[in-house]
């Protein structure tokens, strides 16, 4: 067997051995536990272009000409953060989707809270991209700052929305 072949095999073997180690470490990395937000609803491939057409993400605002009406101002919120309650620390990216809150299993944010109704409230963007919170006829009501909501109300950045023991707010 030629010297060259053996050298190639020797280095190749070391490379393969290290590749295994690296792959194993990658498996560990992907195995770290955490929370993630998964898109649900219509099929993902077809959902993306629709979403882009209906409501472009903030970066592309300027270039998008077609679609449904006005655009968000700068400084629009990009995520919803739970700041109090059992889900404290949970964040949901705001990508133009409607977020439902309540104890029902199919809610976006499932509240484990005795004082929340099954379908308690929803948060959605209006045509201008302004985020609106609407109480869905809950038993104990939804509070924006300290006022109980009666009509769909625009949410100022950072204003606390209280549902039972849970407080959520929109952040940039």
């Amino acid at each position: 067997m030629s010297e060259l072949t053996l050298t190639v095999m020797r280095l190749g073997f070391l490379a393969v051995l290290w590749l295994f180690v690296i792959v194993a470490v990658q498996v560990i990395r992907s195995d770290l536990f955490g929370t993630r937000v998964t898109q649900r609803g219509s099929r993902r491939e077809s959902a993306r272009p629709q979403q882009a057409a209906r409501q472009a993400p903030p970066q592309q605002r300027g270039q998008q000409s077609g679609g449904g009406g006005g655009r968000q101002r700068r400084g629009a919120p990009t995520k919803l953060v739970v700041s109090e309650g059992t889900l404290t620390g949970t964040t949901v990216a705001l990508q133009g989707q409607t977020i439902t809150l309540g104890r029902a299993h199919d809610s976006t944010i499932v509240l484990d809270d005795d004082y929340a109704s099954s379908r308690h409230a929803r948060i959605y963007p209006d045509r201008d991209g302004q985020w609106i919170v609407e109480d869905l006829g809950s038993t104990n009501g939804t509070y924006l700052d300290r006022n109980r909501l009666t009509t769909p109300t625009p949410i100022p950045l950072g204003a606390p929305i209280r549902i039972g023991k849970t407080v959520i707010e929109l952040r940039k």
Partner: protein, 480 residues
């Protein structure tokens, strides 16, 4: 395309813990990888030594693949949420060990020696037995908490296993410097200490789970250290005395270090008191110095560690009781350099006796170099990491302690033998888990991996869904 339709679809999203998917397919992919690497190594050895692809390649690959495949199917059936990495890592180490043992079998020098036996078929048989025990553990041990019932029985069993080599007629001759083997007619020799390692971890876990509060809280603070009460010191003193006794009567440095170290690790994990580590180190230092002052076997090992070259010269002069192997192992590492000489092209067979068991790391060092040895040590590190990760994820304290104990014992064993061969600590006769030639070691370590997989299956299994549908419950009304 869908971009032309502006139908208002609802996009909702869910938040979920990434929980634990079963990861069995990841395991299968890694297993295939872990079988291919040793087959590559096997072919490499054959090409380097005999200039041809070895005839046993197909049989070897099929054998290893069969073991891995059966193991995988059993895990899929009986422990579907178990850790995906441990089985591939163990398979890879076992496969590489088989290749290197076979490579040393091919050595002309070793074939001329009087003690030559063809070790690789036996080791393949031992690996098969090990995987069989691994399967038995997964099939019959449905829940690791069952072991908790046998806390004190396992203590007694471990004691008996440790003392067996001292029983006259049962213990094998003291040929290799240590009395740790027993010979069973028709079965050959076995090393009960390897099995005692697992059984005693069960005892420590069960005992500490009950006593940890007393050990952690009932203590006086003195100079920044928590001094435990006298009666709580009892068990640690007993274990210490036991490991010293092993050292004196069986002259087995490695096992006594392993048992005592494992106990200190588990004590620390159970109580979160640093003082136990300080005590443990002090006691092991006192014990080691004490024994070394009157036990010639231990003294000689320390001398060989401090001055391997002198030991080598003494051995070459033909003085009985000295061994040139430590120095030869160091030379093997040295001649391997960074990238090694290539599989089958080193001269580590010059080590002669025990080249394929205690000193097998020297062959890796010479033929795969620093890069290869580091990868091997990382593979061990990953197994230990997965064990500790299992302990973190486990929900019951017994499972936590048991998996810390088992992975700690595994880590200590690798440290003791690798450190000994590399000249970091005095050499003790222990086997490198999965890699070194030795039936008891391979079988016991497969069982150890089986128990860890069982614990990790319980730990990673998703929690059962809440029973009642909360939608149906009444919402409570806030009354001002």
């Amino acid at each position: 395309m869908s971009s032309t339709t502006n139908s208002p679809t609802h996009h909702t999203s869910t938040i979920g813990a990434i929980g634990a998917p079963s990861r069995r397919n990841t395991e299968l992919a890694l297993l295939v990888f872990a079988v291919v690497i040793p087959v590559f190594a096997y072919a490499n050895v054959g090409l380097a030594i005999n200039d041809e692809v070895p005839t046993g390649l197909l049989g070897y690959g099929l054998g290893l693949g069969l073991l891995a495949g059966v193991g995988h199917l059993v895990v899929r059936k009986f422990a579907p949420y178990a850790d995906p990495l441990m089985l591939p890592l163990a398979t890879l180490l076992n496969g590489l060990g088989l290749v290197v043992i076979w490579r040393l079998d091919q050595s002309q020098r070793l074939q001329l020696s009087s003690t030559y036996i063809e070790a690789s078929p036996r080791q393949l048989l031992n690996s098969a037995l090990g995987v069989a025990l691994f399967i038995a553990v997964l099939v019959f041990l449905k829940d690791h908490r069952v072991l908790q019932r046998y806390t004190y029985i396992s203590m007694a069993a471990a004691m008996v296993l440790l003392l067996l080599p001292l029983v006259p007629g049962l213990g094998a001759d003291e040929t290799f410097g240590a009395k740790i083997w027993i010979s069973i007619p028709g079965l050959g020799t076995i090393q009960p200490g390897e099995f005692a390692k697992i059984i005693i971890a069960v005892f420590f876990a069960g005992y500490l789970m009950v006593k940890r509060d007393a050990l952690a809280l009932a203590s006086r603070r003195f100079m920044g250290l928590y001094l435990p009460r006298g009666r709580d010191l009892g068990p640690i003193l007993v274990v210490w005395a036991m490991s010293i006794l092993i050292l004196v009567f069986e002259t087995d440095l490695g096992s006594s270090l392993l048992f005592f170290g494992m106990f200190v690790i588990m004590l620390y994990v159970a109580t979160e008191r640093t003082s136990w580590i300080v005590f443990g180190l002090l006691m092991s230092a006192v014990g080691a110095v004490g024994v070394a002052s009157f036990e010639p076997h231990v003294q000689q090992r320390v001398q060989a560690w401090l001055d391997p070259m002198k030991e080598y010269e003494l051995s070459k002069q033909g003085i009985i009781g000295h061994s040139e192997q430590s120095m030869e192992a160091l030379w093997a590492f040295g001649s391997g350099g960074t990238l090694g000489t290539g599989l089958g092209q080193g001269n580590s067979d010059l080590i002669g006796f025990a080249a394929n068991s205690d000193f097998i790391l020297a062959t890796f060092g010479e033929e795969l170099g620093l890069a290869g040895v580091m990868a091997i040590l990382l593979l061990y590190g990953l197994i230990v990491e997965r064990g500790i990760r299992t302990a973190l994820a486990a929900r019951d304290p017994f499972g936590k302690l048991l998996s810390v104990g088992l992975s700690g014992a595994f880590a200590l064993q690798v440290f003791v033998v690798a450190g000994g061969v590399l000249g970091l600590i005095p050499l003790t006769g222990m086997t490198l888990p999965f890699v070194a030639y030795g039936g008891s070691s391979v079988i016991a370590n497969w069982a150890l991996i089986g128990i860890l997989l069982r614990i990790s299956d319980t730990a990673r299994r998703p929690a059962p869904m809440p029973a009642a549908n909360p939608d149906a419950e009444m919402t409570q009304v806030v009354r001002p």
